[in-house]
């Protein structure tokens, strides 16, 4: 099994993300507000934008009705720096507008202060 330390836990505050390398692949390491780490391919499924240049944010949710926005999921959504597509970090990187599409993801575990990505 291929695995690699991609960064230290201290390099990412909850709610932040950063680009890293996993072998030859560009990966995106995300840390949600509960402190968990996630890793995806750092490339948008749409036209390939580098996702680390986007933002981790929340989302306006399906509970919204015209004229009344519900905003939640703070720190759990990756938003693409180009066309703004939203990917759910805690739902396998699925796209909010079309959950059949998702970001390629990697497994992550933390040992001591090391964030380790593996397949």
């Amino acid at each position: 099994m291929k695995e690699q330390v991609v960064c230290k836990t201290t390099e990412l505050e909850p709610g932040e993300m950063k680009a890293a390398h996993f072998g030859k692949q560009d990966v995106l390491i995300c840390r949600t507000l509960d402190g968990e780490f996630y890793a995806f391919l750092n490339q948008c499924t749409h036209q390939g934008a580098p996702l680390d240049k986007g933002m981790i944010c929340g989302a306006t949710t399906e509970d919204s009705t015209p004229g009344d926005y519900h905003y939640c999921r703070k720190g759990e959504i990756i938003r693409c720096p180009w066309h703004g597509r939203e990917f759910d970090i805690k739902d396998e990187g699925r796209m909010l507008a079309n959950p059949n599409k998702r970001l390629a993801s990697f497994k992550v575990r933390v040992e001591n202060e090391d964030v380790i990505v593996y397949k």
Partner: protein, 356 residues
């Protein structure tokens, strides 16, 4: 087929000037209004683009904090060199170009000249790949004609960017502008810049407005064709920028059908509307809907020609189209046409001699 095998002529790139940087190109008293009176153009759009960084790609911001599109070196690195552009056409209609100004004709006219000088000195003469658009303040038509005559013969100016106003472009009001453009081998470019897409008002949401930009393109094309502009100015070409392209077959069919029934009203049309379109109108591809190759080819077939579409990125805006990802993987000959040859055959001032 990798990107390295085809040349790219990008028909929509947005350079951007900041108010402070245009000052040195402005004469008094206009300079004073920006420098000391803090004049900025009145904005009309009630929303922002609900994206990560507003109108721009979030990764196109200049590392020193300046807004996207303000720095040639950064644009070279992120766009021109990275993708390997052969040519790019600058089209910025962002403030403070006069493209969405109404009233205060003198200020708008002064801004147009300042903008053109800035564009020539700081972009066109600093990168041989870049070609430009003449900005005019058409509300003072005669001043606009003067401006076209002043900078239109610059070897790197390829089109006149005509601001969208409440006089449609088929109106004789614009004829002197078309005449001046024709004289200098310049095409006319329409880049959407906040055109009304509802009945004189803004829709409630940006997503509605952005969906319907193509309706503004269809209105202008229909108006110019039926008002006989292309028959009166046979060497004039119109580039419809940033409205996508899936609307083209619809408007061609509709105009032809109407022409068969109602030709009596517009007897000056010597050609079928769709033939006029094929000969004198070109359309940039961005923002491209996601189409399969089959869907894309069916559209081309419906247009009846593969010479209308010209690739564009719209860099550095949020709805940028990647040259390798925005369109389906097309056959080599068609790819060459859409990514470079169509634009080269359309703009008389774009060098057309490089060998493939």
């Amino acid at each position: 087929m990798g990107k390295e095998h085809i040349r790219i002529v990008d028909t929509d790139i947005h350079e951007r000037v900041q108010y402070k940087d245009i000052l040195k190109y402005l004469d008094e008293p206009f300079k004073h209004y920006i420098q000391n009176c803090h004049w900025v153009q009145e904005k009309h759009m009630p929303y922002t683009q609900p994206t990560v960084a507003g109108v721009d790609r979030a990764d196109a911001k200049i590392p020193d904090g300046k807004p996207a599109g303000t720095d040639l070196a950064f644009m070279q690195k992120q766009l021109l060199d990275d993708i390997g552009h052969e040519f790019g056409i600058l089209t910025s209609a962002l403030d403070p170009s006069p493209s969405s100004m109404h009233g205060w004709y003198e200020m708008a006219t002064a801004l147009a000249s300042a903008y053109n000088n800035w564009q020539i000195e700081e972009w066109l003469e600093r990168d041989e790949r870049l070609y430009g658009s003449v900005h005019i303040a058409a509300q003072d038509r005669d001043a606009a004609v003067k401006e076209i005559n002043r900078v239109g013969s610059h070897p790197k100016m390829v089109q006149v960017l005509l601001p969208i106003d409440d006089i449609m472009w088929g109106d004789p009001f614009y004829h002197p502008i078309f005449e001046a453009a024709e004289k200098h081998n310049l095409m006319i470019g329409m880049h959407h810049n906040e055109p009304p897409v509802y009945y004189g008002k803004w829709p409630r949401y940006f997503i509605e407005w952005h969906t319907l930009i193509s309706t503004a393109h269809m209105k202008q094309v229909t108006n110019m064709i039926f008002n006989g502009v292309f028959d009166k100015f046979p060497n004039l070409g119109l580039m419809m920028i940033e409205g996508g392209f899936t609307w083209v077959p619809h408007i061609m069919w509709k105009m032809d059908q109407q022409y068969r029934d109602l030709r009596h009203e517009v007897p000056w049309l010597k050609r079928k509307p769709s033939d006029i379109f094929k000969e004198q109108i070109r359309v940039t591809t961005q923002p491209a809907e996601e189409l399969t190759k089959q869907e894309f080819m069916s559209l081309i077939e419906q247009m009846g020609t593969d010479e209308i579409l010209c690739f564009s990125t719209d860099y550095p805006h949020w709805d940028y189209d990647s040259p390798t990802r925005a369109l389906p993987n097309l056959d080599l000959e068609l790819k060459k046409k859409i990514f470079a040859e169509n634009a080269k055959s359309f703009y008389p001032k774009l060098p057309n001699s490089k060998e493939f």
